[in-house]
Each structure stands twice: as C-alpha cells, then as structure tokens.
C-alpha cells in the first residue's frame, strides 16, 4: 500500500472499551473486507456476548519492527468476569477447549467503534487469538477489590493490524441487533 495522508478530526476521543464478543474461529465461516472495513461475516451467530465487569476490558495492539525489513503485530486482550460460579467455570472451560483452534473477538472501543481482533487481511484466519491465561484469586479479605474476579487473557502474533467494522455492521452491533452475535437475554 502506498503512503497516504492523514487528516485530524476535531471530535471527542475516549479511552477504554465497553463490550467484547468472542467467536470460535471455525464458526465465522467467511469474512469480507471492503475499503478497509469489515463489511460481512457469515456464520450462525458465531460471536457470544460476554458480560464483563465495567471498565475491565483492555485490548492492546502492538506493531514492532523485526529487523530492517519486517514488522510483526502482537494482540493482547483481557477482561474480568464475576463472580466464580458454575456459569463462569463453564465459560472458562469452553475457552480452554476452543483455544487450540483459536478465537476471533469483537471489541467495542471507547469511541463506539467495533474492531475485529484475531483476523487481518495478511494472515486471514490463520493466526487467531488463543487463551493465554485465566487467573483467579479469592483475594485476601472483603476489602480486596481484585478478589473473586476471573481474568481471561488472549494473545496472538501476526503480520497485519486489526480491522474496524463498517458503518452498517458497527451500528447493528452497537444497537444490539447484529445477527452475527448471540446476545444475552
């Protein structure tokens, strides 16, 4: 791709992320990127809505040089869920079971833009997110804020950056009506 210009937009820019949805890679059967945006994903509601603790989602995308002629892109995603129960144990077990094949994630950033993480147009679906951990601790006392939270973490290393969803899909995800997501009741 040839170098392009970049124009600043005078608008609010908000940190953080507000929602996360995860799919087993095989369940997103086809993905289309049009004009640099995700314009279609096929599959039977491949993405599962994960109700996470507020302000606990963190997605890092790190572009790093490898020698003089190569660049790698590292993805790291984490969030916290509460509280430890049979339901959370089932989620963690399903993440452990799905990790060998990998995952895709949709992350809604603080600006309301949704991003597909674990996919890029260089690697396609060949370098998806995988579970890197899911630590949990009771904490030491009732005043321990970090206690009784489970923190699934995911990572991947690839050759391309994550891609935003187009206006239509972005709007449907933010409105809670997208058919690619299995929504909580």
């Amino acid at each position: 791709m040839a170098l392009v210009k970049y124009a600043h937009t005078c608008a609010k820019n908000t940190s953080g992320a507000s929602a996360v949805f995860i799919a087993e890679i095989a369940n997103a059967t086809a993905i289309t990127v049009t004009s640099g945006e995700i314009s279609a994903i096929t599959g039977t509601t491949p993405f599962k809505e994960i109700d996470v603790e507020q302000d606990s989602i963190k997605w890092d995308e790190n572009v790093e040089a490898v020698g003089k002629s190569n660049v790698k892109v590292t993805q790291a995603l984490e969030f916290k869920i509460a509280k430890p129960t049979k339901t959370s144990a089932t989620l963690i077990q399903s993440l452990m079971d799905g990790s060998p094949c990998g995952f895709l994630a949709i992350v809604t950033d603080g600006n309301g833009q949704n991003w597909l993480v674990g996919y890029n147009t260089v690697d396609g679906k060949n370098r998806p997110l995988r579970l890197t951990g899911a630590p949990r601790s009771t904490g030491t006392s009732p005043s321990d804020e970090a206690g009784q939270l489970i923190t699934p973490t995911f990572g991947s290393e690839g050759s391309g950056i994550s891609i935003p969803f187009d206006t239509t899909l972005n709007g449907a995800i933010n409105a809670g009506t997208s058919t690619i997501i299995d929504w909580n009741a």
Partner: protein, 49 residues
Amino acid sequence: MIKKEHLDSVVTYTQGRRSITVKLSEATKEQLKKIREIYPEYFDKGSKE
C-alpha cells in the same frame, strides 16, 4: 461478473482446514465459484464469474 463495488473486497473463506484470503479482482475462477456460493450478492445476477 463481480459488482464494481466489490472488485477490491478481500474475502476470507474456509476450504477444508485451510483459510483462504483473496482479493476478488485477483481470485481464480475456482475461488470465485466458491465465493459466489457464500456471497451471491457480490456478483451481477445471471452472470458468470
């Protein structure tokens, strides 16, 4: 024929255990056939690849 607005679209689909990623304007006849099965709306009606 691929619709003009989709000529630069990149599609990733699964074939067996492999994930294939291809720009529509650079796809082979076989790849276009497979993509047409998934996304018929990217092609003009009644046309061939």
